[in-house]
Amino acid sequence: MKFFLFHLMPYADLDLSATDKYNTSWVTLPNSYYDPKKGHLLYNRYLDELEMGDTLGFDGVCVNEHHSNAYGLMPQPGVLAGSLARRTRNVKIAVLGRALPLLNNPVTVAEEYAILDNITGGRLIAGFVRGIGAEYHSWTSNPALSHARFHEAHDLIVEAWTKTGPFPFEGKHYHFEYVNLWPRCYQEPHPPIWIPSQGSTETIDWASHPDRRYVYLQTFSPKSALIKYMQQYRDTAERQGWQAGPESLGWATPIYVAETDEQAVKEARPHIEAFYQKFLRMPPEMIVPPGYTSLKSMQQMMRAKAELAFGEKNIEEVMANGMFLCGSPATIREKIIEAGRDIGVGHVLSMLQFGTLPADLTRKNIELYAREVIAPLRKEFGVSGPEMAAAE
């Protein structure tokens, strides 16, 4: 079991009534609600929080990518990863963007990741995503081309990392006369590739292909969905002739640890509810633009009038369905042991700051989680942490 510290870097000072007025904190929420003086403090606080991961024995830290919203202030995650690259020594740095279909030139991502991999001496984990539906509105990128552009951009980046340049790349969406990456990646043949997803058969089929065997991350999902998709990845891999173990499977989830179960719920309640009810708020037209999913799955979604995973959920609901782990260290340990032993998760990406959770509670959460959850569980699973590995 590997333990990652994942930050979303929300604009925690948001006037939450704004999301009621605009019915969202994405795309159309005016940036007049953003105060750069507060932003300055938040960015530095959040980077400090991630840097704690390096000294407290986490295996890695994670940033991600979203655009034009108060939910997460990392539209250009490479900038934050670059800062972390120099301020950390042990942890892996996972960039759980980049939203490839939004880009007119995906070679920029090949370059950015290669630089990070060089600076860190191979501590980079390279994430590839399509971005969520809202991004296609914010960037006026065509959602109907999302899948095609994702696959082509991915091919281009991996070729840029693995083929000797210069070479031409001849795609439908991307066409280059000279692909010739300077710098080349530090890791051979290239950094590990992780694919975060909310759960999609098409993504699992693609990520688990024997040519790729990418780590698949399930994000923000009820436990039932986590179980389903982890099993689906293993089954799909087996059908394609290989055995996928926990090292191929990850789970990203908000977690709050306090001294007792009661205290944890009491301290976390307003902040996790702000997260699910305000920061994630989006009308359906915004989150699933036409073409973002296949027509068939969209039609099924509409027919089932399926509730999106987000909405007016309170803490009891998100704790009950497994979208939020909250409790004493013993409670959290038990849930992570279950994820590892029964569900087969090999990477737990804990979001230890969420919504409006303030600095003092975030710090306490990170320290308790490191000391009372990670350290005992390393013994439980018999796996050493990064600094232990370094000492051996």
């Binding site: 006026t140 959602p143 109907a144 915004m286 633009p289 073409g291 027509l295």
Partner: protein, 257 residues
């Protein structure tokens, strides 16, 4: 009036759904983003014309061909369509997305055309005049923003929608996104060549159009030499539905020349 013929024809490898009624000069109707149902105004026009109303490739029950990437592809498709059906001296009537396709046909070739009526066509961009964002409208906002009359809006919203109709609407929306998401509802090269449309052209617009503001009508009017502009008051983006009597009367007058 004769019954509406409902059939499929394969054109450029695409099984295309066609509705057709009436006799006389061929009138090819190109529908908008919401799809190609047979509407009352087509019944009216079928009294005087051979009305041919296909569903575009990618829409309704027509196939989605592999070659479909943009409205230029649809323009070439309809040039082949007219050729294959042996249509000549065609009165081309297009609304919204269909008006855009009509313009793309017109800048390529007007050989098979007699004249052209464009109802609130998409296809160009007027700097500083923002269009409505149909992709962020929910189903109710869509109806309310497309029609001016509150009474008609309420009537539309009260109509039951079957699962099949909802599936179809979603398919039409997917294809519309593919063709028109970015650049939003226009082709940056089209405005440069609209002066090539040298056949009589009428532009129709609802003054209260919230999707493509009526000032776009004035711009089309400037760009297409000799074109005439007719506007409808108390009317949104769909004059053929909201002002169908005046709309068909305008088409008849225009066709007389």
């Amino acid at each position: 009036m004769s019954a509406v013929k409902d059939y499929f024809e394969t054109i450029e490898g695409c099984k295309t759904h066609i509705l057709r009624a009436g006799e006389g000069q061929p009138l090819l109707f190109l529908h908008g983003a919401n799809g190609g149902r047979w509407l009352p105004f087509l019944d009216d026009l079928a009294k005087d014309y051979d009305v041919i109303a296909p569903e575009h490739p990618g829409f309704g029950t027509s196939d989605t061909p592999d070659w479909l990437d943009n409205t230029g592809d649809l323009a070439h498709f309809y040039l082949e369509f007219m050729h294959q059906l042996g249509l000549d001296n065609v009165l081309l009537v297009g609304t919204s997305l269909g008006g855009w396709i009509s313009c793309e046909i017109g800048v390529r070739s007007t050989q098979a055309l007699d004249r052209m009526a464009l109802s609130a066509p998409a296809g160009i961009h007027v700097k500083g005049v923002q269009k409505g964002d149909m992709f962020l409208w929910n189903p109710e906002q869509m109806v309310r923003n497309l029609m001016y009359s509150k009474e008609l809006q309420d009537k539309m919203l009260a109509m039951p929608v079957s699962d099949d109709e909802r599936d179809m609407a979603l398919r039409n929306r997917f294809t519309t996104a593919k063709l028109a998401w970015s650049p939003r509802l226009y082709n940056p090269d089209l405005a440069k060549w609209l002066h090539r449309i040298r056949i009589p052209t009428m532009i129709l617009w609802g003054r209260q159009d919230k999707l493509i503001p009526a000032s776009y009508g004035e711009r089309f009017n400037e760009l297409i030499p000799g074109s005439v502009l007719k506007t409808f008051d108390e009317c949104g983006h769909l004059p053929h539905a909201e002002k169908s009597g005046e709309f068909t009367a305008a088409i008849r007058d225009f066709a007389k020349g």
